[in-house]
């Protein structure tokens, strides 16, 4: 494993609260230390696996399924916690599966942190919900502290 830290923002800017990954990266762009890389992706497994190559630590940010508490922010260091929400897809792999695949292929760094923000609405062209926008700001602060402590 190398020394890189990479923050991976997963999501779609055009699908309401699914924009949390890209939105967090937008807000990190200025204050993030220069040696921390960012990768914005729609979740393409190739993109994620490539981003993880030679990486010591990764922080993954994605939206989480609605469960009645929009904007709820969860920070997970135990990847198996993702398994409870693991879906399988007709047409792509979910983030939990991509991380599992990375582990299976021995490409997953030792230090993995997943930030999930619960969304409320994912309609095409919608803006992010206010509660989700607030959670994005909180997540940005936490990630900046996290990389500063490294």
């Amino acid at each position: 494993m190398g020394d890189r830290t990479v923050v991976i923002g997963i999501g779609n800017r055009d699908r309401g609260d699914d924009a949390v990954g890209p939105a967090v990266l937008d807000r990190l762009a200025g204050p993030l230390p220069a040696d921390v890389e960012t990768v914005c992706t729609d979740g393409d497994p190739g993109d994620v696996l490539e981003a993880l190559a030679g990486c010591r630590r990764t922080i993954v940010v994605d939206a989480v399924s609605p469960a009645g508490r929009p904007g709820r922010l969860v920070r997970m260091t135990d990847r198996t916690a993702l398994a409870s929400v693991r879906p399988s897809s007709s047409h792509a792999l979910g983030p939990a599966e991509v991380l599992d695949l990375a582990a299976q292929l021995e490409r997953l760094p030792a230090d993995v942190v997943v930030y999930g923000i619960e969304g409320a609405a994912f309609g095409p062209g919608r803006p992010m919900s206010p509660a989700v926008e607030d959670a994005v700001e909180v997540a940005v602060g936490m990630i900046l502290e996290e990389v500063a402590d490294a």
Partner: protein, 428 residues
């Protein structure tokens, strides 16, 4: 096992109800098969109206994370037809090369990470990777080369940003194309065909009405007439003269039929049926070696045809790179005028039709987008029904598995963005 069974195959994103397949069995016979999907292009059609013509490639590229090139290509061609513009070389070849990259990355993703696990009895690619690590590693490498082809032409973003109506913003240097590892991709694509040909294949034959583009000289990406097995042969501006879209209560997507009410099939099997003779030499030879008939009517064998098309895309990319000369203008001059233009191109999962009307001010007055998955909804229902009728003896878990595999034959773009599949069984 009771004679009455209800099987729901729900495609759920982080949004409830993005799509579903509902199957009901009554008295031991298939009663209901209903496939419903959420279809974002409808939103994008409305979003495009009133915007400058030049926004169409960038906005429509956002409809699908897997096939943005297809949306860009159909929109560019349609706009250029509205303005009476034609592009020459090297733009025409570079657009084909961009499409080669998208076919490679999309087909490889689907074949290895989504569909092959169905055939081999694995729950997912993660489980498959435990036993077939080298195959998954090779697939990821081939997919990466497909991504590289798209990136060198389109720019390294989620969606290609270098495409515009009339051509490109800038042309890649000749050396950048020559440095693409296409020889390596060729070996991997040959291996991919061999790999798919070893998969255990369910035995189903369907009487498909195949619809695809047909070009006299090329296996189609960007150009050709719209041709069907049943005798349709029309220009790109006549799609809505021979096909109709209808609202069905269970789905927010429109269902497409032929004007006579027929169900039709778009995608790799359709392209192959109409264009086999125009595959690259290596792909044609591989199809023969694998014993693929001239027309493949077993929908499960689409996985082999996708591999053959991947090999074709690699060989075509090599030919295009060899002939590329970067000493040219990156785009033709566009002179917008009031008019209507339509274009169909071949997205990895089938025919994608766009039509735009543009006003004197160069703004979009009307947009119509017909994606391949919407066109395949009815044939997917027909396949599910046929597979169910042959498989009712299977226990629920195996039946679900087979139905999921059947739907995946079409590599469906359920929501083109965020979509998960969940299976539930409720015995009636």
């Amino acid at each position: 096992m009771s004679a009455d069974r209800t099987i729901d195959v729900d495609y759920l994103a982080r949004v409830e109800g993005e799509g579903s397949l509902k199957v009901a069995v009554r008295d031991g016979a298939v009663d209901v098969v209903e496939f419903g999907i959420f279809e974002p292009p409808r939103f994008f059609e409305a979003f495009l109206e009133g915007r400058p013509y030049s926004d169409a490639p960038d906005i429509t590229a956002r409809i699908c994370g897997i096939c943005p090139v297809a949306y860009q290509m159909s929109s560019c061609h349609a706009m250029e037809r509205a303005f009476g513009t034609t592009v020459g070389e090297p733009i025409r070849s570079l657009r084909r090369l961009l499409y080669c990259g998208e076919w490679i990355e999309s087909h490889v993703l689907h074949v290895f990470l989504l569909h092959a696990p169905d055939f081999l009895g694995y729950e997912s690619a993660v489980h498959m990777a435990a036993d077939h690590r080298e195959a998954v590693e090779r697939a990821l490498r081939l997919k990466k080369i497909g991504n590289d082809v798209v990136n060198v032409l389109g720019g390294r973003e989620i969606h290609p940003i270098n495409v515009r109506v009339g051509g490109f913003y800038s042309l890649p240097p000749r050396d950048a194309l020559r440095s693409l590892p296409l020889e390596e991709a060729l070996d991997l694509a040959r291996w991919m065909v061999d790999f798919t040909a070893t998969l255990p294949m369910p035995d189903v034959e369907m009487d498909f009405d195949f619809v695809s583009l047909v070009h006299p000289d090329e296996y189609p990406f960007n150009e050709g007439r719209i041709v069907s097995t049943s005798g349709i042969d029309v220009g790109n501006d006549e799609w809505d003269r021979v096909f109709v879209e209808e609202h069905v209560a269970r789905s927010n997507a429109l269902h497409a039929r032929t004007l006579e009410g027929g169900v039709y099939h778009v995608g790799p099997l359709a392209r192959y049926a109409h264009n086999r003779a125009r595959l690259s030499a290596g792909a044609r030879e591989a199809a023969e070696r694998m014993g693929l008939p001239a027309v493949v009517r077993n929908p499960f064998r689409s996985i082999v045809v996708r591999a053959v098309e991947t090999l074709h895309a690699v060989e075509e990319a090599m030919r295009l790179v060899d002939g590329y000369d970067d000493a040219a203008d990156p785009a033709v001059v566009i002179e917008p005028r009031a008019g209507t233009g339509a274009a169909a191109t071949e997205a990895p999962r089938g025919l994608l039709w766009h039509r735009y009307s543009v006003g004197e001010d160069g703004r979009i007055a009307e947009a119509t987008i017909v994606p391949p998955t919407a066109q395949n909804q009815l044939v997917m229902e027909a396949d599910v029904r046929a597979v169910l009728e042959r498989s009712l003896h299977l226990p629920d878990d195996e039946l679900q598995w087979r139905l999921e595999q059947t739907i995946r034959n079409y590599d469906p773009c359920i929501s083109c963005a965020t979509h998960f599949l969940r299976l539930e069984v409720d015995r009636g």
